[in-house]
């Protein structure tokens, strides 16, 4: 088995200790940092994604794998000065004003981060202007909103309107989700996408940015 394969396997197992160990060995042996990330760490996590979709792996295993990958990335990162860290894009995400449900949002964040997105989490109960400010500050490609209450769903429209008003709407893709939200509602308020679970949410964002 190649060292890269070994590294990917350690990610799949969710073994942070081992991932760090192998990554360090590879760095010491002079492997390219970017290659370690792309061909080792990300390969492992991609495989986890596939197995999750097929129902062979479960959420906690995926979370451990993502953590293990992070452990490796942290070792490699300082050596990558000059080269850009590969990222799938920046996402600003939050649960809208009046709503405190965050389990779904947190899962979406976890999935997106492990698929290479840089995610800015605004937390729960996020007012319209905080979304707008975050878009200005972080210049994301995607704005994600979560709402689990029928009473808070309209805030998502308010955010879209505010983005319009600030001339920021065309700069971002807006994606939404949460238990009472639907594809129809997304169309109705002029969002770019809706997803019913974290895996689809991540795939959708990748497609939207392609």
């Amino acid at each position: 088995m190649s060292k890269y394969q070994e590294l990917a396997n350690a990610v799949i197992k969710g073994d942070t200790q081992q991932v760090k160990q192998i990554t360090q060995q590879m760095l010491d042996a002079g492997e390219q940092p970017l290659a370690i990330i792309n061909e080792g760490l990300i390969q492992g996590l991609n495989e986890v994604g596939i197995r999750f979709k097929e129902g062979e792996m479960f959420v906690p295993e995926m979370m451990m794998a993502a953590q293990a990958m992070k452990g490796g990335v942290e070792l490699v990162k300082p050596l990558m000065a000059g080269t850009d860290m590969p990222t799938a894009g920046t996402v600003v995400i939050g649960t809208v004003k009046g709503d405190l449900h965050d389990i779904g949002k947190n899962l979406v964040i976890m999935m997106m981060e492990s698929s290479g997105f840089n995610v800015v989490d605004l937390g729960v109960d996020v007012p319209v202007d905080k979304f707008i400010q975050a878009v200005k500050d972080h210049k994301p490609q995607v704005v994600g909103m979560s709402a689990l209450l029928t009473t808070t769903m309209p805030v998502m429209k308010e955010v879209i309107n505010a983005l319009d008003k600030e001339n920021l709407r065309s700069a971002v893709k807006v994606v939404i989700g949460g238990a009472p939200v639907s594809k129809e509602y997304a169309d109705e308020i002029g969002a770019d996408g809706y997803a019913g679970d974290a895996v689809v949410a991540t795939e959708m964002c990748k497609q939207l940015l392609n």
Binding site: P60, I103, L107, T150, T151, P180
Partner: protein, 486 residues
């Protein structure tokens, strides 16, 4: 026979016990340790001040509650909460092992009985659900089932309450957005029984409010609860969790955390006002680790309620759990299994308020005919829970002797006398011989249930509101609407 009845053990009705007294104590002490060591986050300033004054260690919004204070407040909380219906009859005493069933609130989607399509829920769905459950004998209390999405979101809770109380005389468990709306809703409830005094005397409404796991008590959640206690309205203050996400994944860990949260509620309630009627328990659902859905219909959920009900009985406090809520998206075989298993368990345990009956798709979708099916399931569970009578008359030795070897019991008076009590009769489940079933157009239980729903909606007249109450409720909603807009 009767004269030999000394030295005799009898279990009149079966009782399910899941864990031992020692295990309950273990969970109790573990919960006390959580409250003392980790503490709770309290976003309600008055509650935080009360906790501090009572001897909790408070730092910022974190309060560590000492065990003795919990024990003290447990002593103050009423062991019995009598709940009335809208007509002032005290029909639902929450005490000991009495079991009452009702549905849950706020389903965002409804399967339309005409089109069979899933669509967004509306106020009309709340009206219809209330009417259907008002008619069905095994629903003891009403929750909104659907959510009134077509009303102004600022006062949709008030619209839901109006829809319920106008269409049922049964006790109502309500949800509300905040303390202000709770007060308006109490005013509406009072209007339906001739004033606040009558409401205090015979409360027919119960608030359902929640802490946020793990260990967070919000401004709204606590505020709504305190508002109710001002009017002696009972409160269910219980967490709804996702084990593996908001609590430990282990069942005992999930129960320990939930129990700590509920006990913190008991403490805040009793510090606010001695004797405040509070109900403990909660929704102990795990998260499905494949799909991330909420597992309402899973065995773990029922197993957790078995322990939590015993815990409530150990404290002598009324409790709130759930059953008859399923993950099946439509009322099919899976739905029946999930509903029946959980309903029977709660019946045998003796949970007081069993809610969420008739939820589909893990608490997101409703379908009225499923409520009818669940009514039959509850009927069957209640029948089962009545147990097996072993009196001499039921042992039937005389009858056996009269019939003798080779005879038959069909024409015997003993059969005639007892068969209605001894053999349960479903109303919607089917027991025909094949040919009989064919002759009845091969209808399935769900078809019969749909017919029943249509029949109820057309014919059933719930107990009328007193004169002027409907108008008064509308005026209160209008007023709140203006206040919220301003």
């Amino acid at each position: 026979m009767e004269k030999f009845l000394s030295n005799y053990d009898e279990q009149v009705t079966p009782r399910l016990k899941w864990v031992t007294e020692t295990q309950l104590e273990q969970i109790h002490y573990a919960s006390l340790e959580v409250l003392e060591r980790t503490g709770i986050k309290v976003q309600h300033p008055q509650a935080l001040a009360l906790l501090k004054d009572a001897g909790c260690m408070v730092k910022d919004d974190l309060a560590r509650i000492p065990g003795w204070l919990v024990e003290e407040c447990l002593r103050l909380a009423p062991k019995r909460v009598a709940v009335a219906n809208r007509l002032g009859e005290r029909v639902m005493p929450l005490e000991k092992n009495r079991v009452y069933y009702g549905t849950g609130s706020d389903l965002p989607f409804t399967i339309d009985i005409e089109t069979k399509e899933r669509r967004t829920s509306s106020k009309r769905d709340v009206v219809e659900a209330a009417k259907v459950m008002d008619f069905l004998p095994n629903y003891d209390f009403i929750m909104s089932y659907a959510i009134a999405s077509d009303t102004n979101p600022a006062v949709s809770d008030l619209h839901q309450f109006e829809a319920m109380t106008a269409n049922t005389g049964k006790p109502v468990i309500f949800t509300a957005h905040n303390a202000e709306n709770t007060e308006a809703l109490i005013e509406m409830a009072a209007a339906c029984v001739g004033g606040e005094d009558n409401l205090r005397k015979n409360p027919y409404i119960i608030l359902y409010s929640e802490p946020i796991s793990p260990l967070v008590h919000t401004l709204d959640g606590v505020g709504k609860m305190f508002k109710c206690f001002e009017y002696d309205v009972p409160v269910v203050y219980t967490p709804g969790v996702l084990a593996g996400a908001t609590t430990p994944v282990t069942k005992a860990g999930c129960i320990t955390l939930m129990n700590a949260e509920a006990l913190a509620g008991v403490v805040m309630a009793q510090l606010f006002k001695k004797g405040s009627p509070i109900v403990i328990g909660g929704g102990a659902t795990p998260m499905d680790m494949r799909t991330t859905t909420t597992l309402y219909g899973a065995p773990e959920t029922s197993m957790n309620y078995a322990v939590m009900t015993q815990l409530a009985q150990f404290y002598g406090l009324p409790n709130f759990t759930e059953a008859g809520c399923v993950n099946a998206p439509v009322p099919d075989v899976q739905a029946g299994v999930e509903a029946a298993m959980s309903i029977l368990m709660t019946q045998l345990e003796g949970c007081n308020l069993v809610h969420d009956v008739g939820y589909l798709e893990g608490g997101k979708t409703g379908y009225l005919p499923f409520l009818v099916i669940c009514d039959d399931i509850i009927d069957m569970a209640r029948y089962t829970g009545r147990g097996t009578n072993t009196s001499p008359e039921h042992l039937a030795v005389d009858c056996i002797d009269q019939v003798g070897p080779g005879g038959n019991y069909m024409g015997h008076e003993h059969t005639f006398k007892h068969f209605r009590q001894e053999i349960w009769n479903p109303r919607y489940f089917i027991r025909y011989h094949w040919e009989q079933w064919e002759a009845k157009d091969k209808k399935l239980p769900i078809d019969l249930a749909l017919e029943k729903v249509k029949d109820i909606l057309e014919k059933h007249q719930p107990a009328a509101l007193p004169n002027g109450a409907a108008e008064e409720m509308q005026a209160i909603i209008k007023r709140r609407e203006t206040e919220c807009a301003g």
